[in-house]
Amino acid sequence: EPEVTQTPSHQVTQMGQEVILRCVPISNHLYFYWYRQILGQKVEFLVSFYNNEISEKSEIFDDQFSVERPDGSNFTLKIRSTKLEDSAMYFCASEGGDEQFFGPGTRLTVL
């Protein structure tokens, strides 16, 4: 069964550092998403991406965040200058037009 993969599974970084979270969506999907979940809280939408551009973004997705699909397979989320409050699980999801398939997540810890 096809699946969404994410790397790394856990990323530890110092406050102010840049991080790039990577995702490989399901190959024939066209719509991509990033969500995050702070420990003990609900899953929150960050951004959606289609046809090589952002379709929608939430208030959380400020200028520190960016997304990119550098090639035909990877989908990345970059946080330019991490803050303590960016510590969370980050989930990538892809969709072929019906349900969204989520990856296993990257746990980001900002020290």
């Binding site: 969404v4 719509y31 609900k42 939408f45 379709s55 019906d98 969204q100 398939f101 989520f102 296993p104």
Partner: protein, 112 residues
């Protein structure tokens, strides 16, 4: 997007049927009802989606009354591995490509 309300938590025992009800009084005509499951430290996983009446798949059933203001996810004969958080989402899923708006979900604990 319609607001959803579901119980914060539920307890059950192995082998029992579990019914989780979600209310969505402001559901729109084009809205579908979708349920996701999330295990600890994993991404949410699609369980079932429906528009009206009853939908059944290999893992669950979804019951939707005629007024569509609520829905019930039914898990037959739960096992310990069904312990998870279950989310009810309402949105115009028919067209696809729509962000998912998660509430706090229902935390189901299945005990031996």
């Amino acid at each position: 997007l319609a607001k959803t309300t579901q119980p914060i938590s539920m307890d059950s025992y192995e082998g029992q049927e579990v019914n989780i009800t979600c209310s969505h009084n402001n559901i729109a005509t084009n809205d579908y009802i979708t349920w996701y499951q999330q295990f600890p430290s994993q991404g949410p996983r699609f369980i079932i989606q429906g528009y009206k009446t009853k939908v059944t798949n290999e893992v669950a059933s979804l019951f939707i009354p005629a007024d569509r203001k609520s829905s019930t996810l039914s898990l037959p004969r739960v096992s310990l591995s069904d312990t998870a958080v279950y989310y009810c989402l309402v949105g115009d899923s028919n067209t696809g490509f729509q962000k998912l708006v998660f509430g706090t979900g229902t935390r189901l604990l299945v005990s031996p």
